[in-house]
Amino acid sequence: MPMKTKKNPARTHKSDVLDDFFSVKDKKEYNKTEKNMLLAIRIESAMKKCGYNKLQFAQAMEVQPSMVTRWLSGTHNFTIETLYDIENLLSICVINPIEPTLIEVIDHLHVTVSTTKLPAGNPAGNLNYNISNLTHLQTHKPQLLKVIPN
């Protein structure tokens, strides 16, 4: 019986040149690049959803197709006016001038609710008891709104 030859993945090549290249030194620039690319994806997805190909979208926006290519490349520096026009045409929101309400995240508490019979008495009270035993939450007074038993 012929022996099965072991197969391996391509080796990972490391070097000082590559390590230095890939290190992110300017976080601000990186964040900007990331946002630009994610915006480009958002526009492209919305285009497809609305049934536009690149040529049709260019015609609707009254620009050259090469400009749409540039918009979708993730490298373009949009004007606010262009973004408003894109928002209108594609019915999406990419500019949000309203400050989002800040929600203070105190902690993440994972609560598993089972379908077994809840203990007699006040289930909500029992749950409150368990939460209050988490000392790092006590100063923030978490509120349990309602427990709905089956």
Partner: protein
């Protein structure tokens, strides 16, 4: 000529590979970095950031590449940098999950065809040959893609193929 296929970076979305010409110290992509790091540090920085985003967040979506830079269907393309920037980096794109980085160079201002630049022509045509060699190696069963498309697998170790 023989080339070795190596992986250089991998994220959740995309894996980056490059090739090393057997007998040379540096891979094609390392040579690109070394050749351009003094004159074009900002352009390299931009390319690096885009690669990070591609690897970890977005995948190698077609919209981020200047497609059809090689022969029809060979996957040779160029990674976009900012419109006003001056570097061209050639690569071979395999869907959204794998990219083989090649070399490149300065894109002369007003260049309409890559043949206007001797350096870009050389790098581009080399990568066309690499793409063709990889296609042949896949057909012959010398190499294969993993099920997720992010590894090149072979019984050859290291993975060296003829171009």
């Amino acid at each position: 000529m023989q080339i070795e296929i190596v992986k250089i970076r991998s994220g959740i979305e995309t894996a980056f590979f490059t090739v090393r010409i057997v007998g040379e110290q540096h891979t094609l992509f390392e040579k690109f970095i070394i050749e351009n790091q003094t004159k074009y540090p900002n352009e390299l920085n931009d390319l690096k950031n885009r690669m990070h985003v591609i690897a970890s967040k977005t995948g190698a979506r077609e919209q981020f590449f200047k497609m059809d830079e090689g022969n029809p269907g060979d996957g040779v393309c160029a990674l976009y940098d900012l419109p006003e920037k001056k570097l061209r980096l050639y690569c071979i794109r395999y869907g959204c999950v794998a990219v083989i980085l090649g070399g490149g160079g300065e894109k002369p201002e007003g260049m309409k065809a890559l043949q206007e630049s001797e350096k870009l022509t050389e790098e581009n045509y080399l990568l066309r040959d690499v793409s063709s060699a990889i296609t042949s190696a896949l057909k012959d069963g010398l190499i294969e893609w993993s099920s997720d498309g992010m590894e090149i697998i072979s019984h050859l170790d290291p993975i060296i193929i003829e171009i």
